[in-house]
């Protein structure tokens, strides 16, 4: 009798599992970005959150585009 009761409860739980389905309707907030958050370019293993190091790397690369400066080096 006890087994039947347990089996019955387990069965009802399985049947009710689908009742926990989340709403699939997206609610949009007007004028705000709705997607996933993005990290800053220096928040990674290479720069380890060091913004100054990242800015220096970008600045050095930017300077390489100026061939007048490169020619004088």
């Amino acid at each position: 009798m006890k087994r039947i009761l347990i089996a019955g409860l387990a069965g009802s739980l399985v049947l009710l599992a689908a009742c926990g389905e989340q709403s699939q309707v997206t609610v949009y907030k007007q004028g705000q970005y709705q997607g996933k958050p993005d990290k800053r370019p220096w928040d990674n293993a290479q720069f380890k959150g060091d913004k100054v190091a990242w800015e220096n790397a970008i600045r050095a690369r930017s300077g390489n585009q100026n061939e007048y400066a490169r020619a004088s080096n």
């Binding site: 970005y33 709705q34 996933k36 993005d38 370019p41 220096w42 990674n44 970008i58 585009q65 007048y68």
Partner: protein, 207 residues
């Protein structure tokens, strides 16, 4: 650091399409999608001018304004990016963009219009930096590696400049000065036209 910007020098661009190729190769962009392209005016005529065009990462981006699902965002560095998981491929951004930057893959049996794809300034998207998911959806994240966009770095004549807007402007200004050309090429006169001579000279002391 200021905003990230592109600048194409029409005096230098030789229409080699190196920038287009670099972009295609770097991000493995699918067939039919061109994040960057070279536009030539008066093609074939003496004095033709070419310019490399992609997303200009507008300060007040119209694509962001018209997107019905608000999938666009702007990073602190001024790069306009979007979340492909949210994009519905409606094409409003394409109509709004003055540069024709948003691209839509048109493969499939019924020529479906897929999710929008555009230049990311080589900054990836809202996925883990340099992950497989980010590469698949948005391409390589060079900015997170401390590098500039591949198109600008690959440009053989350095017609296409990319990076911090202030630095790019300095490079271009210096270049124009070295060329020996004045404000007819760059500066106040180009931006606002020649100063108009007022009919009556201003009189009186400054207040």
């Amino acid at each position: 650091m200021a905003r990230m910007k592109f600048l194409c020098d029409a005096e230098r661009c030789i229409e080699c399409n190196g920038c287009v190729t670099a972009c295609k190769q770097e991000h493995e962009v699918p067939w039919g999608v061109n994040r960057r392209r070279v536009v030539t005016l008066n093609d074939g005529l003496p004095g033709e001018k070419s310019i490399s065009v992609a997303c200009m990462h507008c300060s007040d981006a119209p694509c962001m304004a018209v997107c019905p699902v608000d999938c666009f965002y702007k990073t602190a560095e001024g790069v306009v990016l979007h979340d492909k998981d949210l994009c519905i491929g409606c094409g409003y951004c394409f109509y709004a963009c003055p540069f024709g930057a948003p691209q839509f893959p048109q493969d499939g049996a019924f020529g479906l219009r897929g999710k929008m794809d555009k230049c990311t300034f080589c900054a990836g998207g809202p996925e883990e930096d340099n992950s497989a998911a980010e590469f698949k959806k948005y391409g390589r994240n060079r900015l997170a590696e401390g590098k500039l966009p591949a198109c600008a770095e690959m440009c053989s004549t350095k017609a296409l400049l990319g990076g911090d807007g202030d630095v790019v402007a300095d490079i271009y200004r210096n270049r124009v000065l070295k060329r020996g050309k004045g404000s007819e090429v760059w500066g106040w006169g180009t931006a606002y036209g020649k100063p108009e001579k007022s009919a009556t000279p201003p009189t009186g002391a400054k207040s």
